[in-house]
Symmetry: C2
Subunit: 136 residues, 2 copies
């Protein structure tokens, strides 16, 4: 243990400095969400989503887990208490933004009626949402 490197604050905030990435983080929240939902909700080309997820991964803000064909993303709280606080606050802030709320509504609807979305047919539900979705 020669000395743990200081957390990259700059990189952390850079990762938050893009609206697509903020929307992704907002959609994930405290769940574990499959990429196909991001593509469905945010629209646009899939590689765009993938690249932003890669950016968030490289900044250490999210982690991916493979489950068969699907990739699930979740937010990992930083090893730094300060960063954790800021990240939590940020997520709370996003919750109050109009566009972010709309996104979340669409995610809920999508995962409760995934059969209706051709692109989501058979897609794995977001983890905690599956248990607590009040609409289903």
């Amino acid at each position: 243990m020669a000395g743990k490197r200081t957390y990259n604050v700059e990189r952390f905030f850079q990762a938050l400095g893009d609206n697509t990435r903020l929307r992704l983080l907002n959609l994930i929240g405290d769940q574990e969400v499959c990429v196909c939902y991001f593509v469905e909700i945010l629209g646009g080309p899939q590689p765009k989503i993938s690249r932003h997820l890669a950016y968030l991964r490289s900044a250490g803000i999210v982690q991916a887990r493979r489950e068969g064909k699907w990739m699930h993303y979740r937010i990992v709280m930083p090893p730094h208490i300060g960063a954790t606080q800021v990240l939590r606050q940020t997520l709370e802030w996003l919750r109050k933004e109009k566009q972010m709320q709309a996104d979340r509504v669409r995610l809920t609807k999508a995962c409760c009626a995934s059969a209706k979305y051709a692109s989501l047919d058979g897609a794995p539900l977001p983890a905690p949402v599956a248990a607590s979705c009040e609409v289903c």
Copy 2:
């Protein structure tokens, strides 16, 4: 009042995504600090400091006030409660970072012995520091 535009979250975080700007914000803290101190503490060419301050201004994170030859910068809390919380948390986080602490120590020393710094001779002291500086 047609409807207030949503606060630019993206821009907010972009402004925090640079180490020089983070150091500036850390030096300002809850005070009002003269540019000459930034130049003295951070080193490097003065235009660099000025440009970063301009960026922070354009993002609405700081405000400048002229007093004779000198410009004083202070942090302005965003009109958005969420942003305010995040900004406060961020400043607290910075306080715990080693480099940031070192910067603050140097600021304190500089303003308590401004006569010793040729470039700071006669420079106005940071506002609240002048009253609460325990070293002077």
